[in-house]
Subunit: 184 residues, 2 copies
DNA sequence: TAGACTATGTATAACCA
DNA sequence: TTGGTTATACATAGTCT
């Protein structure tokens, strides 16, 4: 009826720079995060795309998102070795991880050469990793790590990182596009 | 001036289900992907958040996005062990990976207990992995993998996955929220 | 901290080049 | 495939609960 509407300012244009006010920053993150997750969900539905997102809030808390499943974030990391390259979202959605692996088993004969190379590389890297890890293990207390020993730990982590890096970006380096804001 | 404007239909509401037409699907993916990446970039700037996204196009091509750097997708996988939890985007942007590690070194004394547990766990898992890997290595030709041997390879991959899984989701399980559309 | 509200800014469906 | 246009649907900044 004749209910008087309260009128507010409505959306204003804002400058694209870091919000100085901490509360505003948190609110903005929370709202926009929801918006992006929503958009991502829509895109996954409309186009059958697989999407994984991880956001760190300004406070440092991680917020993961995955469609069709949140485990895709992890699954992709192994898919480099034994992928089912053109499998659509709908099918993947219906298959458990184990079933997917069985599926891959059936398709592997088409990827033998690449798989062999990757496997050898993984094994070599893993062995090198374990050797450096042996050195690190001599240190009993983390508190006592001196700069040199920390360097070893660093090397260990770098090695692990290389394995992961290898699995993720192998297929991406020749991919269609690479977006990032900021340095590589 | 009196220029007659061509009038189009403008944006129409669409039903939220998979687009049947393949061309429309590709166009939609391309445009919405750009939109989401743009939104993600804005969020990173406004809130100093760290964001990583990987999208698989309907055709199966991966499109990665990272802000402040695309390498964050990889970096997070190690950050579980030696994180710099509240470091903002702006600062991270200016630091190389090596500098970041040094930074972490300085802050590590605040995280000793958790770090020790994680390190032990990683080492145990890695050792178990290598043992199972030894078995796998007995197979000289990938072509000859029988179901049992493939099972071993599968175990090896699962083990690797667990390490990764552990690093990613350790902090998330108790985290503030977990979003996904579809099954876990 | 999380949910409404509303006016406005922005993304995007349809169409064309 | 990418880019431009228009009209509309949708997201969201500011504000109050």
């Amino acid at each position: 009826m004749g209910r008087k509407k309260k009128t507010t300012m409505g959306k204003q244009k804002i400058e694209m720079k870091k919000l100085e006010n901490e509360d505003a920053r948190h609110v903005c993150f929370s709202k926009r995060k929801a918006g992006i997750f929503s958009k991502a969900s829509e895109l996954a539905t409309l186009c059958g795309a697989e999407i994984t997102i991880v956001m760190d809030s300004p406070a440092g808390s991680p917020y993961p998102f995955g469609s069709p499943t949140i485990n895709l974030v992890v699954d992709r990391f192994l898919s480099g070795g034994l992928a089912l390259p053109t499998m659509g979202t709908q099918e993947a959605c219906r298959l458990s991880l184990v079933q997917e692996l069985n599926h891959q088993c059936m398709r592997i004969s088409n990827q033998l050469d690449a798989a062999k190379k990757r496997r050898t590389m993984l094994e070599d890297r893993l062995k090198a990793l374990v050797e450096s890890n042996q050195q690190v293990r001599k240190v009993e207390n983390f508190e006592e790590l001196n700069p040199v020993e920390f360097k070893e730990m660093e090397q260990f982590l770098y090695g692990l990182k290389e394995i992961i890096h290898f699995n993720i970006w192998k297929n991406l380096s020749g991919g269609p596009s690479t977006s990032n804001s900021g340095k590589m």
